[in-house]
């Protein structure tokens, strides 16, 4: 009994550690090799950079030979603006669906949830047609619109559940205090669902940042390319500049990591404790 009690958590941790190593290994390889010379990468891809193999040539190439700054700005603005729209519109829709009982509210919620099950890429052709029709090809606006639509279903689904868990008394107390519905949403609901917003933000942001598909078909021009698209120029049919690819991938990790840190700090549990009872 005592033994199994000790082995239990140990086993769990062993499994988790294994998973962590497997998940982090490719990232480790990318970052480590981005600091090595070409020879160093090919001779021994698993070795750490040493005095002879240490080389920043990849980073130099990326910064000198491509418009990496433009890609970066594009990626960041598309991700951040889409994120803001997803969170704001998602939370507003979730609040309306959770709080107000109007005819067809359940059908509406179901309709929005269907978006989680159907991949948005299935609609690529119609999306492209619509974007062409609106004259938004090769603009960041096109990407932001598509990503907002892509992120909303899951955001609404998760946030609605969270909002429904906020004690009714809080909203009613606010109504007795003469607080308007808008103000209840801004000053009470939003602060209380901050952990959920952070979760949704992380889930929404990573696919947007990593996406290659929509930048490729909707905004492939040099001025609107995102980081993932921009890196493709180093990958040729016959020759791939691994130094540059690895260096740009390493650089691409940085902003998303910063955003993640910001959001994960919001993931504080028990924020509602002390509200009721």
């Amino acid at each position: 009994m005592r033994l199994s009690k000790r082995v239990g958590p140990l086993g769990v941790h062993a499994v988790l550690m294994c998973y962590t190593v497997i998940a982090l290994f490719p990232i480790y390889l990318v970052i480590m090799n981005s600091f090595k010379s070409k020879k160093g990468i090919f001779r021994d891809p698993l070795a750490l950079p040493t005095g002879t193999t240490f080389d920043l040539v990849g980073f130099e190439k990326v910064i000198a030979r491509s418009s990496f700054d433009v890609y970066f700005t594009n990626s960041i603005s598309v991700t951040v603006i889409s994120l803001i729209f997803v969170l704001l519109l998602g939370a507003m829709a979730a609040w309306a669906l959770a709080e107000y009982d109007f005819p067809g509210s359940d059908m509406m919620a179901l309709y929005l949830a269907i978006g989680i099950m159907i991949p948005i890429r299935l609609g690529s052709v119609s999306l492209l047609k619509m974007i062409v029709g609106m004259g938004l090809v090769n603009t960041l606006t096109a990407l932001i619109l598509v990503y907002t639509a892509q992120g909303l279903p899951l955001a609404i689904f998760i946030l609605r559940e969270f909002i429904a868990q906020i004690p009714n008394d809080l909203k009613e107390a606010a109504r007795c205090d003469g607080v308007s519905e808008y103000r209840i949403f801004w000053s009470i609901i939003l602060p209380l669902i901050r952990p959920a917003l952070a979760t949704v933000a992380v889930f929404t942001m990573i696919p947007i940042w990593n996406d290659l598909w929509f930048p490729l078909i909707l905004a492939p021009s040099q001025e609107t390319a995102t980081v993932t698209l921009g890196i493709q120029q180093f990958i040729g049919q016959y020759v791939t500049d691994w130094n540059a690819v690895l260096a740009s991938l390493t650089l691409a990790i940085v902003p998303i990591l910063i955003l993640y840190v910001i959001f994960s700090r919001q993931l504080i549990r028990g924020l509602t404790s002390g509200a009721v009872k």
Binding site: L170, A174, C176, V179, R183, S187, G274
Partner: protein, 387 residues
């Protein structure tokens, strides 16, 4: 401050009607307690008055104005919730000030500001905090407070709004016993200080008796009786009120009328086949009618020197010190309870003789309505309290 008048208030959810026409008059400055068992509709009634639920039928007036379609804030009410409902992400100060920092005016329903000016708000909050002894906690968060403190913050949030009517929804039910008594006193004092109209909902008849100017007993969506605590205690209008008010609750015995006199009734009790002659206005009763007689535990005693006599086996004795409660064998029915002297040496298993005054006995007809008593014994009628 304001009068409140409920006339024919009904509430239904779909086809289920939960309140069946409630009429209550509440005077300015009165402390009214709605009391009743859980699920009787008392909380719903409070929420209707607050404006958190829509009234299905009937009219609600506050200060002579019909408020059926007004929002809670337009009705100028403040509500203290059972769960306190403090905003968890705001300090005590902000919790109290929040309702004041915004008006209904301005674009987007006050989203962009409006409300009263900061200095005035600060004055109000400080004053309320002082009266509730919360000054030291103004910068704490609700999660850092004890239950009693949270309760006071919730009350403070109501006070700063300076409402026409305070509504309390079972505010003490989350507190422990000792704190409950303290907070009860504080609420009574608050009522005296503010001279405010207060409506208070509870299922605890002790809270109702101790706090109320007027008690409204609600049962199954109807008002069972409405009156001062002592009126309800001494002159319950029906069996439900008689059983609900008073602790331990009234003993009931079934019986049949055997003779009707002017001013009294003879009732043959099923319990021990004895006949009791009770000073009751016979009203429309006739010989052979089934009735229930009721007598409070504190109106019975051990001995046989009074007119109404019983003898029974004691099942359980509860010794509280100042008094002891004897629970007596009563077949399949609820045991009879007698409040006896704290020094009583009666033990469980003993057979005891009990007696009471016929004047203390209530009689209820088959529908459960009380028959008017004719006794003039001051011990058993409500005293006149000067207003």
């Amino acid at each position: 401050m304001a009068d409140i008048k409920l006339s024919g208030i009904k509430k239904s959810y779909g086809k289920a009607e939960v309140l069946h026409g409630i009429d209550i008059d509440i005077k300015d400055g009165e402390f009214v307690v709605f009391v009743g068992p859980s699920g009787c509709g008392k909380s719903t009634l409070l929420r209707l008055i607050a404006g958190l639920e829509t009234i299905s039928d009937g009219e609600l007036q506050i200060d002579g104005e019909t408020v059926n379609d007004m929002t809670p804030s337009q009705r100028k009410i403040a509500m203290v919730f059972q769960s306190y409902a403090l905003y968890p992400h705001m300090t005590v100060y902000k919790n109290m000030a929040f309702g004041l920092t915004l008006g209904d005016k301005g674009p987007l329903g006050g989203l962009l500001g409006g409300g009263e000016n900061k200095k005035l708000i600060d004055e109000k909050v400080q004053k309320a905090a002082k009266s509730l002894k919360l000054e030291d906690y103004l910068h704490r968060y609700p999660r850092e407070l004890s239950g009693g403190q949270r309760q006071r913050v919730a009350i403070g949030r109501a006070i700063v709004r300076d409402p026409n009517v305070f509504l309390f929804d079972e505010p003490l039910s989350n507190l422990d016993a000792a704190l409950r008594v303290n907070t009860r006193l504080e609420i009574a004092k608050l009522h005296q200080d503010l001279e405010a109209t207060i409506i208070y909902v509870t299922h605890d008849q002790v809270e109702a008796m101790t706090l109320a100017d007027k008690i409204v007993v609600v049962n199954g969506g109807h008002v069972a009786q409405c009156g001062s605590p002592l009126e309800l205690y001494h002159h319950p209008a029906n069996k439900f009120v008689a059983g609900f008010i008073g602790s331990p609750s009234m003993n009931f015995l079934e019986g049949t009328i055997t003779a009707v006199h002017a001013g009294s009734l003879d009732v043959l009790l099923d319990y021990n086949n004895s006949t009791a002659s009770i000073p009751i206005h016979p009203d429309e009763t006739k010989v052979g009618d089934k009735v229930t007689i009721g007598i409070r535990p504190e109106h019975m005693k051990e001995g046989n020197d009074q007119s109404f006599k019983l003898s029974a086996k004691v099942n359980v004795v509860e010794r509280l010190g100042e008094a002891s409660y004897l629970y007596l064998e009563n077949g399949d029915n609820d045991p009879l309870c007698v409040k006896t002297d704290g020094h009583s040496t009666t033990k469980s298993g003993n057979k005891v003789e009990l007696c009471a005054d016929f004047s203390a006995v209530h009689v209820f007809n088959a529908e459960g309505n009380a028959l008017a008593r004719t006794t003039s014994d001051e011990k058993y009628i409500a005293p006149q309290l000067s207003a």
